[in-house]
Subunit: 346 residues, 2 copies
Amino acid sequence: MHDVARLAQVSVSTVSYVLTGTRPISQATRDKVLAAMAELDYQPNAMARGLASRRSRILGLLMPMDERGLGATETAFVTGAAAAASVAGYHLVLSPIGGGGDLDDLRRLATQRMLDGVVLMEVQLADERVTVLQEAGVPLVLIGRTGDADALSYVDIDFEQTVREAVEHLVGLGHRHIVYVNHSAATLASGYGPALRTRDAFVAAMTDYGLDPVMIPAEDSAAGGRAALAAAFARTPELSAVLAMNETAIFGILGELTGRGLSVPDDVSVVSLVTSPQVAELATPALTAMTSPGSALGRIAIEALVRHLDGPGNERHQQLLPCALEIRGSTAQRRPAISEPPRRGD
Amino acid sequence: MHDVARLAQVSVSTVSYVLTGTRPISQATRDKVLAAMAELDYQPNAMARGLASRRSRILGLLMPMDERGLGATETAFVTGAAAAASVAGYHLVLSPIGGGGDLDDLRRLATQRMLDGVVLMEVQLADERVTVLQEAGVPLVLIGRTGDADALSYVDIDFEQTVREAVEHLVGLGHRHIVYVNHSAATLASGYGPALRTRDAFVAAMTDYGLDPVMIPAEDSAAGGRAALAAAFARTPELSAVLAMNETAIFGILGELTGRGLSVPDDVSVVSLVTSPQVAELATPALTAMTSPGSALGRIAIEALVRHLDGPGNERHQQLLPCALEIRGSTAQRRPAISEPPRRGD
DNA sequence: GTGAAAGCGCTAACAC
DNA sequence: GTGTTAGCGCTTTCAC
């Protein structure tokens, strides 16, 4: 930087100011400085900037990685967030730090002033990470919501709206015996927000239609899906539609349906909740799904965070986005059972 | 740090030395210092340390994210790498920077001395990121190999060995007409190492058995898998086994097989290459697969990188790890066609 | 609109 | 085994 200043025949502070833009510089000197920087192939040192300015211009995206891998939905969050960060002049780094034992790791990262702000993915209703980060004084935005998120910034999927639309689609096709296959009982018990919120939304939506809301939990595996479907038929033999939010179990559900000689969508319609097009297309037939607004969520979260950092610093952003219904091959008009007399209005 | 020194009644440098451990400190003073740090709830500032020491103690994992999402295999890389970094006293951050337009972003990150070293995932045969990083003077380790990786450190899957074992398994079950479904023609043309290496290995292995090596490319989609299978039957009507390395197409392959009234594994055996147990269990029947050594790859890459950084700095680590054969329900003894007379030795 | 200089919070010679 | 001190490469008052 010294060299740049000398070459441009200005002071180091002037060079710094063209870099940061924190004070007006005449076009002439700016050009001189820029030319000198290019000439010398100068690159500012991020550590030194960070130390002097007390801002790293690095944003963290905390993304617990379980062994199941990341779906296309999560990937979309990430790419959306990275793009938004880049636009705002920040770097985005992902940290695989989870809710597990590496909470100390997180505390260290947060407290060492390496990150200007953080976006949390896969937020639990009671999420220790939030406490840790708040204590460390790191600005944060959630993707998802804790139980008491009133004071926090978040963006989340509008599960109520999403489930309602899915149910509406199925009811519109004439289905009346709809079973919702959720995540596992253990996941529900652990306070996983999406599982709880969709459960409640399903009950509400079905009740509004005067229908019986049957929910079955399923382990996150193909076998879990099969078991759940078996349970569903035991509980509701007239079952003609399945709503599911479980990207792994859904394959077991489809397999079990086929195994029972039932055709999708002729005998049973299937809608998958919060599902990426990529996964939806993997199935045969391709799944009608509520597609999550992945990259928008990531983008909005970062934008809110940046506004918080660059702005007065007391904003609070709370926003819900619904998933979009994408009709593919797994839903169809309900076919009345042969034994069933036609009803008026059919 | 000043305060810590005063409280412990030592100099700041002594505090620094107990922090870095770069010179012997008597147990007594160390304890005093540690006590003072705890008392004041002191946390060193990462930026300042980085500026003064010229090392950030941050390692980057460059992980291109395409819209397909990360499989369990990639996730295992990441968790293995993160664990190893933590053990070595480094932080690991992931950067979603890809081979796309954000090469400048990478150059900036690399050149600003924010990262002590990086691990590259999804390495292409000709990978510009390698050039950029080398020019920036950032130590790097590849997961995968470029075309001329002789001078670089890398860890990669031993595709030759992996394919050979898969073919051996199928031949051992009596299969002689085996088709290999690879990634797409475009992917092959783009110089994607795994696709090319498995192709060559397949040809070599089949030729060794005196068999005809038929390879069919497939788009990364269920539809691509169906098309590939159709092409495979057109080319090799006697087909009794499919080898595949394409986690998305494999579902189309299975669907098409079922659609043709063929049973897996009774009529056709299927082996999936470089596949995680999670994905293998998704299919019906569960797939016999060559399971990739995911977390070991990540761990070894980080360990090599750290050795490079902390050691004399001229090591070069090159290592290949084979996938492990895990037999599940998609492979079985070949069933001779009815029209086919029994051969001697059967 | 520009320059001079005082730090930012540490590390690592150099002293003893 | 410990203390003193000169930076690391920037940002940002304060002065003009």
